[in-house]
Each structure stands twice: as C-alpha cells, then as structure tokens.
Symmetry: C2
Subunit: 245 residues, 2 copies
Amino acid sequence: MSCQNFSMNNNSPTARNAAYYTEAAPILVAVDCIILGYDDDRLKLLSFKRKVEPFQNEWSVIGSFVNPSESVDDAAVRVLEEYTGLQNIFMEPLGCYGAVDRDPGARVISQAFFALIRLDEKEVQTVETHQAHWFDLSAVPKLILDHNQMVSDTLEKLYRKARYRPIGFELLPEKFSIPQLQNLYETIYGRTLDRRNFRKKILSMDILDKLDEKNKSSSRKGAFLYRFNQSRYQEMAEKGFDFEM
Amino acid sequence: MSCQNFSMNNNSPTARNAAYYTEAAPILVAVDCIILGYDDDRLKLLSFKRKVEPFQNEWSVIGSFVNPSESVDDAAVRVLEEYTGLQNIFMEPLGCYGAVDRDPGARVISQAFFALIRLDEKEVQTVETHQAHWFDLSAVPKLILDHNQMVSDTLEKLYRKARYRPIGFELLPEKFSIPQLQNLYETIYGRTLDRRNFRKKILSMDILDKLDEKNKSSSRKGAFLYRFNQSRYQEMAEKGFDFEM
DNA sequence: AAAAATAAGCGTTATTTTTACACTTGCACA
DNA sequence: TGTGCAAGTGTAAAAATAACGCTTATTTTT
C-alpha cells in the first residue's frame, strides 16, 4: 500500500529516492474546529449540518481536509473563515485525534482546534447560510465521529486555561459589564463566585477601562460598561497570572 | 494530485464512493517523541543519530511514520519502546507540526509527544545500541527539521505543567531526597527556591512517604529518602493543584 | 407619590497562604 | 577533635483570599 505519485516539494535526488518516504503509507489529514461563543449568558457551540456523505445532514463541527499547499494551521484558519466569514479569531490547537477507526470512511486523522468568538449580529447571517446552529453547551446533540469528545476536551481546556489567562474577553462583546464577565467565568468554572471579590480581583489586574455608558438590560440600576485595555491585556496574557477565584 | 489506491477500512458503498474522501490528498503522518530525563542534577534530552537518508547521521529526536493499522498514540508508544525498550512511560501530546515545507523530502506532518523518563541503569544499554546520546538541555545540538522547536516547546510546556501537576516525580528515581526534588524544580523553573519553604510546601501536600534510608552522595550528613505515595499522588494529579513557589 | 424589589457597587475584617530569614544537626575528613 | 558542608527546623511579617453587610440607583408595584 503505497502512493508513488505523492507530491514532493523538493527535487534533490537524495530526498526523492529515499525509501524512507516512499514506503510510508499516506493518511488523510483533516482539521476540525470547535467554535465556542457566549450569548444570552450561555456558552454555546457552533454546529453545522453536514452537507456531504457520509453522515450527510448529521450535526458536526466544521472541518476540512488539509490541502497539500497549506499548513495545518492555515487549514484551520481557512475553514474558520469559510464557515463564519471571520478572520483574526482566537484559535488554539486542541489536539490530535488519531484512532484507527475514528472515521469509518477512511483512515483520517484530525488535528482539532478550538476558537472563541464574540457573538455580534454580523456572524448570525453567515451562520444561517450554512445550516448552522448555536447549541447551548448543556444541550449539544450527538455529533458525528468523535466530535463530542472534541467538545468536551475543549471545555476541559477552557476551564484550565481560564485560570491563568484572561481568556474570557475573547468571548464577550467589545463593551461588557463586570457582572457579565463574572457570569462568563461562573459558566466556565461551573460555580458561583463572590460578586465583591470578583470585582476587586479583576479590577486590581488593571486590564479594564471603564466607560461612561451603562448596560441596563439585566438590572434596574444598570451596570457600567468596560472595555479591556489591549496593551495591559497582552502583558497579562504573556506573563500569565493566577485567576483562581 | 490524488491517490486512488489508498486503503479504506470500511466497505460500505456510501463510504467508499464518497467523493469526499477520494478527492482528498493524503499526507504522510509521523510521530516524534521528545524524551526528557533527569540525571546528575541536569535535565537531559535523548537524541539519536538518524540512520536513514535524508539527514543520515544528523541528530534528531525519535520518530516514525504512523502505520495504517495503529492509532497515532499507539505509534508514539511503539516508537518509544522500539528505541528505549521502555513501556508504561509518562507521555503526553505536545502538538502538531504541520508546516508545508517542514520536511523537504515530502509533505509530512508530525504529531509530537513528550515523554519523561527516570534514568536508571537499565536504559543506558538500549541507548547505546541506537547511537543515542543524552544531551544536557543547555547544550542541545542542531537537530533535523523542526526538532529544536519541538524541544523548546516541550520545555515551555513542562514549565507550565509543573505548576499544577506534581510532574517532577516522573523524572526522579523511585527513591529521592527532598533536595533532589528541589533541584529538579529549580531546573525546570530556571530559578532558585527557598529550601525551607519548598520543603514545607511539598510535605504539606502529603504525597511523600519518608523512608528510613539516607542518600549520602551529595552531603556528609545525608538526606533522607522519600518515595511518592501513589494514591495521594493520583488524587493531586487529577484535581490539579498550585505549585507556583 | 411612596414603598418595594432588584441588581450594582463599595469597604472592612478574619483567615490563609506566601515570603523572608537564622540557627541547629549529623557526618566525613583533615 | 574540630572544621566544613549540606540537611533540616521554626517563626514572624506581608500579601492574598474569603467572608460578609450595607448603600445606591432605578423600575415596578401599590
């Protein structure tokens, strides 16, 4: 089982003739992208109705095979843009899913990524053209292949990551209130946090710029909106910090 | 550029005929394994002189193509055993290295793993039969392809991981003294730690069983040996903890 | 128009954790 | 027998975290 006409992007005789390469069995390589968003005080997963066989019309996360001309990371960026129209999105590698029979159609390994996006109005359009749906994370349906596993691995990773990176901001709109931010952390951590201590800690990090506007959607008094301070945020993200709460 | 005779492990007509699979370009998939050990108060990297072209006789970490009949994880375990004879070793996925031209010989993506091993006498034999060498991490030579990158990513990961998992034990012999353990952490963290506070913290975690023996190799007084308590250790490893120091 | 309800926001105290630091012990070797 | 060297112990100050009560702004109800 070999594949002689597989592309080589180097023509040195040594490399081309190396039995080392020609004896290896090629495998299909895919990327899959777990997209999380936060809306209506809930963490949500973006899923798509698959358009092709096999598993046509079943729910799945977005994915694609990796093209010979693109890196694995680039493939993930491409896929994300194809389905959501979004660029410059927070995305991180999640892991490699490489079980022999994970895909009954062929031997396919998948490098999974997870992306966090801000749910503004723009996205929604793109979503609708692709038969996509935002599922509340507590009500994710059966997805094809090992995609449910990818989703739970993403949550696990998000949970860990939130402790040492101010990751929450990737999910919130540009302007948000402290109670909104707290709610997000409570969702990720799966437990309630003390209002006063949360505020104190997040403000002491000095990554928030207070605005003069208020958001009145969730209370009578209204909560002041904040925006995060890009440069301070970068600093914190790089050096890491402790956000255990 | 396609590869029609690529193996399928499912014969359902739907799957076999799916253009979805047959149009995808297979890619070579490799695993690479970054093996770290700790000896003589130093973190070391296990490297091998590559036996095949291209890059014959250059230094590299161990690796192999993934066989159609094995999972990616299994391939990593196989490789580790082939080269070191060791089984049941701590090993974790490091990441996917998928740049288009990372390997001039062919389009190869590599899923890297890192393994931590305890350096007893046994290993050394296996190492010698494979033209291998333990390099002090401060003196790692130029390795082939992107293997140097993999090594530095491993160190980064080890550094982060050590903060919330008692990972150090994977590297020490069964019996070790507290100063030895401290030295390991100092090596990973790249800075010195306070003797008294280190001891206090590690003992308070209650994962160490004190033995009656002493290790006299590094001082006249001799340091008591400890062994880690498997069950307590597991608990800690699962729930995570904070070992910032 | 006053009262009730609701969530935002602020400040203090108690507790725990972390940091800093100095002296004593056991043993080998001179 | 005493000197050197790393192992080992205790304590106090500082910082971070956790717990908790009251006030404020606004809308809804009476």
